[in-house]
Amino acid sequence: MQLLMTGFKKMYYLLAIILLVLIWWSLSALLNTNALPSPLHAFKSFLASLQGGLLTHIGVSLFRVLISLLLAMLIGVPAGLFLGKNPQVDKHIAPVIYLTYPIPKVVFMPILLILLGIGNLSKIVLITLIVFYQILVTTRDAAKNLKKEYILSVKSLGARSGELYRHVFLPGCLPAILTSLRLGLGTALAVLFLAETYATQRGIGYFIMDALSRMAYEEMFAGIIAMGAMGYLLYLALDGAEKILCSWINL
């Protein structure tokens, strides 16, 4: 039965890919402009670009996004768990979070470029800052809403603070943390593209904008495909992590 379901799932994915390529192809034929090449030309260009330096750009972008997600998680998860576990502290910190959360952090890009330079650091800090908030708020709310009986029952077994984090708060909030990472991934890729269009000569964002400036549209689409594929693979990796780490959810 499970095999059958997996088979159906794969078939739906295949159908979705066929549908998207068909829409792309129809639009390309309908508009008949160099700015929107056909999927076939774009994929040919993608394969050619992979041998001509695109892989390096993918590597740089992947490094930036992965480090940013990791940093955001390393700071956001413990902070969120701590605030969720300690409502008295959260009461004082919550106003700061609510005031700064809605500010679009991307406006800090110029100041980060000035302060941290045009290298990887400014881009990583910007993406980390944006994703950190999503992880912090989601983790805190998940920790806050954990059933009291879980905490009480483990406390009654003699657990202290550290053991409560290890056995109750972290595993109990893990599904929410992974969801926030998935949401954060989309945002991170969008910000990555923006950050790579300024003051850098490496990364998929640069590759796309450079191709645009040379009106090499097929190459530009090769970059878009690379960015899309990277996002999809990272999304799949998070999905896999959820299946392994939170196998108890979908029983």
């Binding site: 879980y150 009480l152 029952s153 077994l157 003699g158 056995h167 595993p171 109990g172």
Partner: protein
Amino acid sequence: MSYVSIKSLQVDFIQKKHKITVLQSVNLALAQGKIGVIIGPSGCGKSTLLNVLSGLNLDYRGQVLIDKNPPHRTRETALILQDYGLLPWKTVWDNVCLGLQIRKVPKKDIITKTEKILKRLGLLTLAKRYPTQLSGGQRQRVAIARSLVLEPKLLLMDEPFSSLDALTREEMQNLLLQIWKETNLTILLITHNIEEAVFLGQKIFIMSPCPGTIIQEVNNEIAGDYDLRGKMGFLEMCNYLRSFFQRREIKCNY
């Protein structure tokens, strides 16, 4: 000397800046190896009383002693909550050995003790399952296993069988009786159910609310017999408790 001794216990909560006295002048004594049952209407502070006894609530006035020690200083107490408190992200095995892990018991002993208790409660074949894959009765067995694996001397139970169907409830009551007979545990159990109180409780403490206090102590010598449910004495004791609750006018001011 009683194993569990409570004298002049008072517990206050602050709610919306107002002080509410949840428990007042609570006195209770239970000898070692006995089953005590606390029965009373909702909101009379039964669970608060159990939280004090389990060491989870340290904010109280009065004297509370378990084997001559304050509750938070003893590691010989185990608590089973109404909804079992099993962690859905841990398997049956991991839930049961959690207390041993927390108490830093050597790994080898954890395996031996967990295996033994799971076998005894007929749970060994379910060891790799998660709580959501179990029936209500099986979950209750896991909660009991998790407590018993710690080899406690006092078992506190907060309405442990309230969410079970009638047949499973009786099966679990029998199981608890069997465990008690085998281990000579001291058990203090909270229930809403008069039949359960009479079947299990050698000493029945009747509580009234607002503020919660024990208004009557009933010695129930007939408890502890597997065949008690069909006997005349059982029905008479149930009727006695029922009419006791009906006679009393219970008012609450908050």
